[in-house]
Amino acid sequence: MTVEMLGARIMAPYFGGSISVWGSLITVFMLALSVGYLIGGRLSTRNPNPKTFALFFIGAAISSIPIIIFADAIMRPIFLTIEDPRYGSLLASIFLYFIPTSILGMISPYSVRLMVDSHEHSGHMAGLLFFVSTIGSAGGTLATSFYFVLWFDVNQILWGAVAVLLLAGSVILLINYLLQKRAAHAQVSGYGKKN
């Protein structure tokens, strides 16, 4: 959501601040999320593991970097070829935001699979996850539009989002590593007792 709020700001210099720019942006985010949900759900059926989960965060972080570095390089040719700012902003949104947003969309279904251990609890877990992710979206929207834009440059906020995603990915990898180590240790000591 932080990226979405800033998305309109990033595109305004080329496509204006009209309502159609917001329309393009929201359309592309919704499409990207839906594709992400689909792929994330599909991936979760094949050997779900925390490593892949962490890679989603890292992948989203890395694919967000072009928004910061190449925004002008991407929007300029689109502005020059497409005169109608509606289609210009739609195309620019696709190039800038589709990939990182769809990767972020993979997180939700995948985490449902990782956290659910029985059919009985699946609804509860899914509800909890939607709750957390939607509350997070609300927080990101509010913080960005009320405060971040007042305190920071657009690019600084984006770098912040990239850093948070990278951090989340790393923390998952680290916890996974520690858990595996402990499990291996427990297994070894377990064998020791048996013998």
Binding site: Y14, G16, G17, S18, E83, D153
Partner: protein
Amino acid sequence: MEKKIRLLLLLCGLMAVTQALIAAEVIHEEKSLYRDINVVQTGNRRCLIFNVHRGDRNQTCLDVSNRDELIFSYTKMSFAGLLLTPQPKKILIAGLGGGTLPLAFNDLFPDAQIDVVEVDQAVVNVAKEFFFFEENANMSVAVNDARVFVKRAGILGEKYDYIILDAFGGDYIPEHLLTQEFLEEVKQIMTEDAVLVANTFSTSRFYDHESVTYQRVFGEFFNFKLPASGNRMIITQLDPLPPRGNLITRAQSLAPSLEKYGVPLLEYPARLSTRVDWDMSRRVLTDQYAPANLLQNN
């Protein structure tokens, strides 16, 4: 029971009286994607109003019986640019409103080419239907965002010698029209002798940020304020500003032609100030940093 009815009748009577006292008639309401547009007529005065909910904000008013005369001081103030560029040939006006300003320019300079850019089609419709605005061979409206229009004009190499920025109508400030990058793009489409007249904000912390931004791009500018008006115009050009003596001479020669619009041009030179009355330490607004709507409330 009878008491209640009497009270009700009294209330009705009171309402009728207040209605009659105001006698303002809403003759047209239009909802657009950006705002609610109302056309209200009080006697001969017809006004275009945006955002009725938060205190009426007259955008443009027109005297139906004397259509030449401009009513708002900020509309009249837009003519102060003539003190720097007295004979414009190509005029760009960002923000149509009721269209009285472009109409007056078209009337005054019938041979000049006037481009108006307005983001809201509904405003164009209302201006045409209720404010006698018409496009003609020399005056046309583009329904587009001013930033997009200016950027494209710059790429096409088009130049204007009189640019009026008046795109700040409603409660929401279009932040991308206040940044250093936008002003640089405006600079690209100015001829060497062009003048820029920007209707801006005279209150809040935002005044400082905006002044600092214009100063960064244009250097010194004329700060034009009238005591009775809440508006502040920034008037500037690419060359260094002319001395006040020149402005007075120009005002004297031009004033008669502006009389019919009610523009008191002779009063203006004394009101154009280059004195820095803002906090110069404020941050320049850029595409990266332009929280104009948040600053407005601080």
